[in-house]
């Protein structure tokens, strides 16, 4: 285990050391101590390493992650895991707004709640939230899956494309062009695998699936009020 003290060596050194790890590094276990809410911790990683941040983080922790696993032993600030390509991010506490924004791949797990705009413009990432999520989540979501074990706030999936949403609790309101959909066997299977991967014990049959009604895919003046 390599330990990096952020207060001692500074953000640039922390990230530079993590960026220096190659595909074949044998230093696969890293710990960052004293994060104290700093921004951009462990962003841009691109190696099969596991990094644990011992405390809460500021904006954009693990942004654009590739391959790496990043554990946050605390709560995470805005834009955590933004544009994640692959790998895994696990947040033990709560996540602030824009979690996993525009993420293309990989998995983000939140043990607590996630704030507004969770999964905004998601493009393939999978996000599993054990608690609740805030308003405007998955706005313009293009692809990927958002799993919510608790409740969802207002305007879930507004203007979404092909992203799928699974919510166990209530949905305060659905956004424009987002509708409740039938949960078919393949969806139950997918949901089970996502919950298993996230290490969350929940019964897929208790969830409801939501997604795009596809009415806004091509402009129609009769839908103008929905834009």
């Amino acid at each position: 285990m390599q330990t990096l003290d952020l207060q001692e060596i500074g953000l640039r050194q922390v990230n530079a050391q993590l960026h220096a790890q190659s595909e074949t590094t044998n230093q696969t276990a890293w710990e960052i101590v004293n994060p104290k809410g700093a921004h951009a911790i462990a962003c841009g990683l691109n190696a099969p390493i596991e990094v644990t941040v011992k405390g809460s983080t500021g904006y954009y922790c693990a942004g654009m992650n590739q391959q790496a696993t990043v554990n946050i032993d605390g709560s995470a600030g805005p834009g955590t895991g933004e544009n994640i390509m692959s790998g895994k991010i696990v947040i033990e506490g709560d996540a602030s707004q824009y979690l996993g924004a525009t993420g293309h791949g990989g998995l983000i797990v939140v043990k607590g709640n996630a704030s507004s705009r969770c999964g905004i413009s998601m493009k393939g990432v999978n996000i599993v939230v054990q608690g609740n999520i805030g308003h405007m989540s998955a706005f313009m979501g293009q692809s990927g899956n958002l799993v919510v074990c608790g409740d969802a706030g207002d305007a879930l999936g507004d203007s979404c494309y092909e992203a799928r949403f699974f919510v166990r609790g209530s949905v305060k309101s659905l956004g424009a062009d987002c509708i409740k959909k039938e949960m078919r066997p393949e969806h139950l299977e997918l949901l089970k695998s996502l919950l298993d991967e996230a290490g969350i014990d929940a019964d897929p049959s208790e969830f409801t699936r939501y997604g795009s009604a596809r009415n806004l895919y091509n402009f129609d003046v009769d839908n103008a009020a929905a834009y």
Partner: protein, 448 residues
């Protein structure tokens, strides 16, 4: 006339309304027939005060010129030296503005890369990510970081020579974009991770930051991911240039790209293009003032765009304080867009060469703003690249001609004192004297 009046009363001449013009009436009929606003490409077509309203005075007894073909007039510019380990070094201060793969064909993007590289300048990606042909043919490639983040990935980010965070665009300050379904080919759909054939909306705000404090943190993240190696530009529309420039500097930008309303777009509502934003001439002085007030003029570079067409425009932009300019529409015209040789086909589309602006419909006879394989095949990227290089060289020679005539051995040495304005409006905007006077509206101490 009156011979048709049985009573012999003279008729007045038929009079067209200055309010309800033929153009306006056609807009109304089109809206009534379709139920949707007009979407088009390009920038503002209305007449606005512009660089055409400024003149250089040239040398005289009090200032002597440089010899045209003997004495050197430098044109190089370095962008991004403030924070970046590897600033961009350009031979000429005319760059190619961001235009997306999707809006443009792959070969057109390749031609932009070829032409810019041959002329010693940079080209810029757009709202569709980075294509291999563009990266491969561009020695200096600026990667746009846009609200939509289509095709955005860290591998491409790290391949870029600079990153341009796009906050706004002169054609549509505060607006997103729309790529209509007919241009979403398999390749475009794959790059943007969208179903083929749907209308693709581009967001107007970044999904993971709002405001200047967030921008500062976003810039930090991008620098950390790219190891503080490449410059980070911030592109803003000509909305509130003094404040936007000030905030971009405070957020840590290496360069500010400022785009006036004549700057083009691939597809935006006509009402947006024509009625939101400010003319390029009006935005440069407030931006330069902001740089000067922060002590950052010539440290944080200012790249001006929006209707730059000639070496005279380049020289005027530099004289008013820009470090470089960017061209988009002019580059497309150099490649062959709107060329009269396609007039018969423009006519079939209900338009004429020079006026064709339905770039979003993907039927471009010149094969540039299309994803149709047959139309694309009309465009030769090698020839297009050569034409763009020629055009960039001519613009540079023109700007040098003017600079030498003003006695300047570098384009950057041009200054507002070299200029006069032909109109009150231009004098006020450019803050240079009305020709024949020593006065401009708003001049400090003049009571106006």
């Amino acid at each position: 006339m009156n011979k048709h009046d049985p009573r012999g009363i003279p008729h007045t001449t038929p009079r067209q309304s200055a309010t309800f013009t033929q153009d306006i009436n056609s807009d109304i009929r089109r809206a009534a027939a379709t139920g949707i606003y007009d979407i088009r490409g390009g920038g503002a077509k209305r007449k606005v005060p512009s660089f055409d309203d400024l003149l250089f005075m040239g040398a005289s007894i009090s200032r002597y010129p440089l010899e045209g073909y003997r004495e050197k007039c430098e044109t190089s510019v370095t962008i991004g030296g403030l924070h970046a380990e590897n600033p961009i070094e350009l031979d000429i201060p005319i760059t190619i503005a961001g235009m997306s793969f999707g809006a443009l064909s792959g070969p057109a993007k390749e031609a932009l890369g070829r032409g810019a590289s041959a002329a010693g300048t940079s080209t810029t990606t757009g709202d569709g990510g980075m294509t291999p042909e563009e990266r491969g043919h561009s020695t200096k490639l600026v990667y746009q970081y846009l609200p939509s983040r289509y095709g955005m990935n860290p591998d491409d980010l790290r391949k870029a020579d600079a990153i341009e965070i796009v906050v706004g665009q002169g054609a549509k300050p505060g607006g997103g974009g729309m790529l209509l379904g007919q241009k979403i080919s398999d390749r475009v759909a794959e790059m943007r991770n969208l179903p083929k054939g749907i209308d693709q909306r581009s967001a107007c705000r970044h999904p993971d930051w709002t405001g200047p404090d967030d921008l500062e943190i976003k810039i930090l993240e991008l620098r950390e991911i790219t190891g503080w190696k490449v410059p980070i530009y911030v592109k803003v529309a000509g909305a509130r240039p003094y404040y936007d420039t000030t905030l971009a500097i405070k957020a840590g930008a290496d360069a500010v790209v400022l785009d006036g309303m004549q700057g083009g777009t691939a597809a935006t509502q006509d009402v947006f293009i024509e009625h939101v934003g400010q003319p390029t001439l009006a935005i440069i002085r407030p931006a330069v003032q902001a740089l000067q007030d922060q002590g950052m003029h010539r440290k944080v570079q200012l790249i001006l765009s929006g209707g730059i067409r000639s070496g005279a425009d380049v020289a005027k932009a530099m004289a008013l304080g820009a470090d470089a300019v960017a061209i988009g529409t002019a580059a497309l015209i150099a490649l062959g867009d709107n060329d009269p040789k396609w007039e018969a086909e423009y006519n079939k589309l209900g338009t004429t060469a020079g006026a064709y602006d339905d770039w979003h419909e993907g039927q471009d006879p010149a094969g540039i703003t299309t994803q149709d394989p047959e139309l694309m095949a009309r465009f030769d990227p090698v020839e297009g690249g050569r034409r763009l290089r020629n055009y960039l060289k001519v613009m540079t020679l023109e700007a040098q001609t003017i600079a030498r005539a003003c006695g300047k051995n570098h384009l950057h040495n041009l200054e507002p004192e070299d200029l006069v304005a032909l109109t009150m409006e231009a004098a006020a905007m450019a803050r240079v004297p009305l020709a024949g006077t020593d006065w401009y509206p708003g001049k400090p101490g003049t009571g106006f």
